[in-house]
């Protein structure tokens, strides 16, 4: 018999292992939540989901749970306050607007202060030290080394979106504090998003009975996510780490590192999102998709409409549009347009707004200059792309080429491939200097003789390569079919039952056999859980 201390140790170990990719999560935690949820009724079901989310949080850190609970309470009361001002007919329209604006402003400032306090203070402090040293002033920064509460970058954006929507009267303020807690701590979207809008989570509050079809589709999605994460991303992870931390670097090796990281990151992040969406689906909640075949994009703007979609739409709706319509910006743009003409002048407003979008995007990923550079990189590229769109269309017309012709499409794919790879090269680099060094090597020292040697010597064995390459082929085929408008999962549903079951069993065995599980393997932390 296991004694009490052994039992507690065992539980503690399980707690530590509670992540989306652990057996604990999908084979024990999720089924247990489902059973208790189904056994309860009405309000009880919401409480089960809420406690499950809090349990998940607490398994990561009790402090993290406290921050989340306080933030939820703050957002709840501020939402109510905003609505009360909107309904206060004793105030004039202008006064109401002014009061609401002030309320929203301080709300956003406080929410951002929490995140800045945890994630950016050391970064700000160290850069102040650099500046003061450069000008000869003695100043020292004592590192705080705070650990940012997991998920804070995701639920802070959700909170800002909620408050803004209440401010604009697009949605009503939530009157149930239980629902607000649940929205802010639903375990399925806790760690990596998708960054959800309040109305998208309303199904959560209905407490509908679990349906078999939702469980089936939810778990199929979870399995697909595990396949991407464990069979591909985690097999590539040691190789990527080894390439980026190695001493040797030529152009070929730099490209290899960047390509491998791009694949790892996509499989890791989109796999985690599949698990998140699948987990929510089990309870009948349909979270927003976060990826839509990004590598089939026609340009950088299109890529960002397909990659981390929920982050992109947040920046579009809550930064890009509000800045574009700010009176000071439109006035400035109007003045510039008059001077230089509408042809170029029409880009002034979007350029200003786009700058704030991309500096925010870079910094959202973390307090590092590589991320700031990553943001600025896409700012410049997307702006140039939009400015050149018209001349490019004219050039195509002159050459008698259509947008859909194979030559144009291949040109666009190759261009996008390099744009994405170079971006990820900087994104993953330990320092901006290292990123530039890799970039420089591509032009000054491009050779491929060392690539083969590195492929053999970066901690991935034949078995790992076989798993990863097979996995990549499978994902590529599925994504190609989806891009062509063929609903892959529905096609599988149409297959006779025995074959269908055989197919899903094969997938389960592929994850068990080829996944980076078991002795000798450590499941890699989710790349996007750190942001």
């Amino acid at each position: 018999m296991m004694d009490a201390s052994e039992f507690m140790n065992c539980m503690a170990r399980w707690w530590e292992q509670l992540s989306y990719t652990s057996w604990m999560y999908f084979a024990l935690f999720l089924p247990l939540v489902m059973i208790i949820y189904q056994a309860c009724r009405g309000r009880g079901r919401r409480i089960v989901l809420l406690l499950s989310g809090w349990f998940f949080f607490a398994s990561l850190s009790g402090f993290l749970l406290a921050v989340n609970v306080l933030t939820s309470l703050f957002v709840y009361f501020l939402g109510r306050k905003l609505e009360a001002i909107s309904l206060d007919k004793s105030l004039k329209k202008k006064e109401r607007k002014k009061k609401k604006k002030l309320c929203l402003f301080w709300g956003v400032v406080i929410l951002l202060s929490v995140i800045v306090g945890f994630k950016y203070l050391d970064f700000i402090g160290l850069n102040i030290v650099r500046i003061t040293q450069a000008v000869g002033i003695a100043y020292d920064w004592k590192m705080l080394d705070l650990i940012a509460p997991a998920g804070i970058s995701y639920y802070t954006l959700e909170a800002i979106a909620y408050l803004s929507d209440v401010y604009w009267e697009k949605i009503k303020a939530e009157d149930s504090v239980l629902n607000m807690f649940l929205f802010m701590s639903f375990f399925a979207k806790l760690i990596v998003g998708p960054i959800s809008r309040y109305p998208e989570c309303e199904k959560l509050f209905e407490g509908q009975s679990i349906r078999l079809i939702d469980v089936e589709e939810g778990y199929q999605r979870i399995l697909w996510g595990l396949f991407k994460k464990l069979v591909i991303a985690d097999q590539l992870a040691p190789g990527v780490n080894s390439l980026y931390s190695g001493d040797y670097m030529d152009g070929g090796v730099a490209l290899l590192a960047a390509v491998m990281f791009t694949i790892q990151e996509y499989m890791d992040f989109s796999g985690a999102i599949d698990i998140a969406i699948g987990s929510a689906r089990v309870f009948g909640v349909r979270l927003h998709e976060n990826f839509r075949q990004p590598f089939f994009a026609k340009n950088a703007s299109d890529f960002w409409r397909r990659w981390h979609i929920t982050l992109g739409r947040f920046f579009r709706d809550y930064i890009f549009y509000p800045i574009s319509f700010a009176p000071s910006v439109t006035k400035l743009a109007g003045g510039v347009s008059k001077k230089i003409g509408r042809k170029i002048g029409r880009f002034v407003t979007p350029a200003i707004a786009l700058f704030f979008v991309w500096i925010s995007n870079g910094l959202w990923h973390g307090a590092r200059w590589t991320y700031v550079f990553y943001g600025m990189y896409y700012f410049v590229l997307i702006l140039i792309e939009n400015i050149l769109e018209e001349p490019f269309a004219k050039l195509l017309a002159k050459l008698k080429l259509r947008e859909t012709s194979p030559a144009v499409r291949i040109f666009r794919y190759v261009k996008l491939f390099f744009i994405v790879i170079i971006g990820e090269m900087f994104f993953r680099a330990d320092t901006l200097g290292k990123g530039f060094e890799m970039f420089k090597k591509i032009f000054t020292d491009l050779r491929f003789d060392m690539v083969i040697k590195h492929i053999q010597d970066i901690g991935i064995d034949r078995y790992g390569y076989f798993a990863a390459v097979t996995g990549i082929i499978v994902v590529s085929v599925v994504e190609t079919l989806k891009e062509a408008g063929i609903p892959v999962r529905k096609k599988i549903e149409a297959i006779p039952l025995p074959v269908r079951f055989a197919f899903w069993y094969c997938c389960i065995f592929a994850v068990i056999l080829f996944g980076a599980y078991g002795a000798g393997y450590d499941v890699e932390d989710l790349v996007y859980a750190q942001f």
């Binding site: 409409r305 579009r316 709706d317 549009y321 407003t349």
Partner: protein, 78 residues
């Protein structure tokens, strides 16, 4: 009003058939750069103020939806 609206739309995106399209936003036909230009020109042309809260897919998915939006904002102004 419709004629002016159609003129503005086809000036911004001559490649789109605004008479028949009904999913301009949902299908990503109009991009955010187009929306910015469109809104600033609608504001100037019809003397209205489209704010971020009006930027929903429902208001911009088709030319007729935009026409309704402009009409309702003009009423508000009155």
């Amino acid at each position: 009003m419709k004629e002016r609206l159609m003129e503005i739309l086809s000036d911004i995106r001559p490649d789109v058939d605004f008479e028949s399209e009904t999913a301009l936003i949902d299908d990503n036909i109009l991009e955010s750069f187009d929306i910015i230009e469109l809104v600033s020109r609608l504001n100037a042309e019809f003397d209205i103020e489209i704010s971020p809260k009006d930027l929903t897919a429902d208001n911009f998915n088709s030319a007729s939806a935009m026409e309704s939006l402009v009409a309702s904002l003009q009423e508000d102004e009155d």
